[in-house]
Amino acid sequence: MKKRWYDYLWIFSSIYLVLGFFNILFAWLGLICFITPLLISIIGGSKAYCNRYCGRGQLFELLGGRFGLSRKKTPPKFLSSKWFRYSFLTFFMVMFFLIVYSTYLVFAGATLNEAVTLLWVFKLPWQWVNTSFVSPWIAQFAFGFYGVVLTSTVLGPITMLLFKPRSWCVYCPMGTMTQGICKIKHRKG
């Protein structure tokens, strides 16, 4: 099959992950992967982002498929159940709003917390980056958002190894959200 430009978006995803280690402010670029699927589902009413433009999914496919880093077993049924997917989405959204809230607190004068939270619990010190050239709230959002990205980057490969390469797609909060938007959109239409 002929390769299209979007078949190489896994390179963008890989570079993005690495850039965060050099300067946390690159985390802001991750908003592209947050907003684009939402726009596609809201305007286009489809989940084209998932199977076409998701660099993360492509990366899992590459590592788990071509490089054989996956057991290729069917994941347990509960992973694709509605209650689990929507609970996971709710949890992720609560975490996201907490990030926005902490960004607001820093904007209002609170001290910048230079740490990336992994798996919602573990605080990783991240003080090697100079963020003094931007407002502290900009850096605060970057620290928080990169934590979300790293968390999904840890969970995705675990389920890739244990189950099928793109098992992350089954419970990906963005996938659940865009499918929910499509449901609402097409119910109205």
């Binding site: 084209a48 199977n51 797609c169 089954v170 996938g175 499918q179």
Partner: protein, 68 residues
């Protein structure tokens, strides 16, 4: 030709990720309105590639024309 006797069908809880769409050599699958995958049984030859690709494990092979 035993493979022509079967067709893929998508069960409940499809996450509409579209992995099956990419895996189908005959372009027999589409994601219907971002809601779920839909198999065109006239095109499907029951090769099972979509079943293997589906990360949710919600695609099964059934006899063509049979009842779910």
């Amino acid at each position: 030709m035993p493979q022509f006797e079967k067709t893929a069908r998508v069960e409940e809880n499809c996450v509409a990720c579209g992995n099956c769409v990419k895996s189908c050599p005959l372009s027999a699958i589409t994601v219907y309105k971002g809601l779920y995958a839909l198999v065109d049984e006239n095109k499907c030859v029951g090769c099972g590639k979509c079943k293997n690709a589906c990360p949710a494990g919600v695609i099964e092979l059934y006899p063509k024309g049979g009842v779910l």
